[in-house]
């Protein structure tokens, strides 16, 4: 009889005789090298159970038994790590108690009645100061490029500080402050657009972002443009090349603002990290990882862009007690000899995940927008 232990671990095809398995393996390696390099090999991440194991003798039962594959499928239907990456976590209700409830009500009154108007006022003042300085600087100092750039940089940092103040951002920065230097890029994990504001208030980064609609888009194309930010449209394949070219040019330039990239390409709920896009890691420049961890004690900083607009997200932050977060500027990393950009990206992801206490999942964040191709299914 077949021993039940290895029976359980084997998948139906595991039991093909050895020579065939040999060719199977070599096919596997050759096919994965031709694959679109943007997607790391999913097999590398799969639990070892699903990798075929040699088996003594093939029986009809082993061939027909598709239970491990079915179990995996049902497991994915019941719960899966990908959906969990993009799940907002509502704060635990604590107002269930007759003593706590009035306290909570008082909190609501303070937050919405006092804090919120105050913050709107702060933000408005911030915008007035910003615009009344920015517009003259932008229009009048046309001839003095250097001075204009410096002033604009300072002003953007200022308005970002106002934004952070408008949600009483308690941000702790660890590590040395980044400076502008050619041939280096900063990469950070991505939870919300406010990541950008939090980082921007310290250093005026040039950032690569998706083109947004509405007032955010307007800001992008006017103010942030002056920082050298690069925009793209996720859905347009042509944009890819243009962005890659612009990236290279930007990194080479000496007096450009330091470049910030969110290689996940999408907002994740600050408990997981999804796959890093390799773009930032094949520029041949030093990569400085930045880890951002939000404290969920008052508000969940995750921007669930499918459910809420950025404006509602901002309002949610502005009506909470505070946004508490830690930012770590980590040790700069260089590509090791013999390392592929993907391996390098994974290494940097490791560093960020460990520092910020995030779990790594092997999924491409873009799967939020598209479905995996049949090619992937076949490979598995």
């Amino acid at each position: 009889m077949v021993n039940s232990q290895d029976f359980k671990n084997s998948i139906p095809l595991s039991s093909i005789s050895t020579p065939e398995r040999g060719t199977k393996m070599s096919k596997l390696t050759s096919s994965s090298s031709e694959l679109d390099l943007d997607r790391p090999n999913i097999e590398d991440y799969l639990p070892s159970d699903s990798i075929p194991q040699p088996h003594a003798k093939l029986r009809l039962r082993d061939l027909l038994d598709i239970s491990p594959t079915l179990t995996e499928a049902a497991g994915a239907i019941v719960d899966d790590s990908f959906t969990r990456c993009f799940k907002s976590n509502p704060p635990e209700p604590w107002n269930w108690n007759i003593y706590l409830f009035p306290l909570w009500c008082l909190g609501v009154v303070v937050r919405y009645g006092i804090l919120f108007p105050g913050r709107v006022l702060v933000l408005t003042i911030g915008w007035i100061i910003f615009l009344s300085c920015y517009i003259p600087v932008h229009l009048l100092l046309k001839g003095h490029d250097k001075l204009r750039k410096r002033l604009e940089r300072a002003l953007v940092e200022l308005i970002c500080s106002f934004f952070v103040a408008s949600w009483t951002g308690v941000v702790k920065y660890h590590g040395p402050r980044p400076c502008a230097r050619p041939k280096q890029v900063f990469v950070a994990n991505h939870t919300s657009m406010i990541d950008f504001i939090v980082l921007e208030q310290m250093t005026a980064f040039a950032v690569i972002m998706q083109k947004h609609p509405g007032w955010v888009g307007l800001l992008q194309s006017t103010i942030l443009d002056s920082l050298g930010c690069i925009w793209f449209n996720r859905s347009e394949a042509k944009d890819r090349e243009i962005v890659a070219r612009k990236l290279r040019e930007h990194v080479e330039g000496a007096d450009n603002n330091p470049l910030l990239i969110f290689p996940e390409g999408t907002c994740v709920n600050n408990q997981f990290t999804v796959m890093f896009k390799k773009g930032a890691f094949e520029l041949g420049s030093t990569v400085c990882p930045i880890a951002i961890k939000y404290n969920k004690i008052f508000v969940d900083a995750f921007w669930n862009s499918k459910k809420q607009s950025f404006t509602t997200h901002l309002l949610q932050l502005m009506t909470s007690w505070a946004v508490v977060c830690d930012v770590w500027y980590l040790e700069p990393q260089n590509m090791k000899p013999g390392e592929t950009p993907i391996e390098f990206a994974e290494r940097v992801r490791d560093i960020i995940s460990v520092r910020a206490g995030l779990k790594k999942v092997p999924w491409d964040g873009y799967l939020k927008y598209s479905r995996p191709s049949p090619k992937h299914r076949e490979r598995k």
Binding site: V2, S4, F7, K8, I11, P12, L13, I16, E20, K24, K27, L28, S31, I42, L58, R59, L60, R61, L63, L64, D65, I66, S67, T69, L70, T71, E72, A73, A74, G75, A76, I77, V78, D79, D80, S81, F82, T83, K87, P90, P93, N95, W363, D364, L367, R371, P372, H376, R377, E378, R379, K380
Partner: protein, 175 residues
């Protein structure tokens, strides 16, 4: 302020429990309902094929296309019944019947040589040629006392697969 965790009433839950032969506890049903609502993005009361495929872990499963035929458009009750075969308390027969259904793509109650070949093709992809697959399958079927032309019934599947080693269990996460 109760958290909007579930809109199921006690009555609904008991009704669903009856439907799945009380294989799931009430808490598990609540948890499955939350998951159901999460998957049913547009809140239309059933889960479409595309919504199932939005779970990458499911979409990359080699049998996903086959399973989609079985699960496309499930409402909550059918969703629970489908998953109940993966309950540790479910009978061996129920599990084997589900496996049988995966093979029996035309639902005529018979699994032919070609049905098995198709599933094998899904599972092994391009790593094996059709000829290799056929050889292996013919050999194995003969060893088990079937020929290439015999079609298998549920009873045959039970005979072949009923074995304590057959584990098909999925825990429902309850928080």
């Amino acid at each position: 302020m109760g958290s909007a965790s579930s809109t199921l009433t006690q009555y609904d839950i008991e009704d669903v429990q009856e439907h799945c032969n009380h294989l799931f506890s009430q808490q598990e049903i609540v948890s499955l309902y939350q998951r159901f609502c999460q998957l049913d993005r547009t809140a239309k009361g059933f889960i479409s094929a595309d919504e199932f495929l939005s779970v990458p872990e499911f979409a990359v499963n080699p049998l996903s296309q086959r399973l989609l035929k079985m699960v496309d458009g499930l409402n909550f009750k059918d969703f629970v019944i489908f998953l109940s075969a993966f309950n540790p308390k479910a009978s061996m027969l129920q599990k084997i019947e589900l496996i049988f259904k995966v093979y029996d793509s035309d639902y005529n109650g018979k699994v032919t040589f070609n049905d098995i070949m198709e599933v094998l093709r899904d599972l092994s992809g391009s790593f094996m040629s059709d000829k290799q697959r056929e050889e292996v399958l013919i050999k194995v079927m003969q060893e088990a006392g079937y020929s290439k032309d015999s079609s298998l019934l549920v009873d045959d599947f039970v005979k072949i697969l009923d074995h304590p080693g057959l584990k098909m269990e999925v825990e429902v996460p309850v928080d």
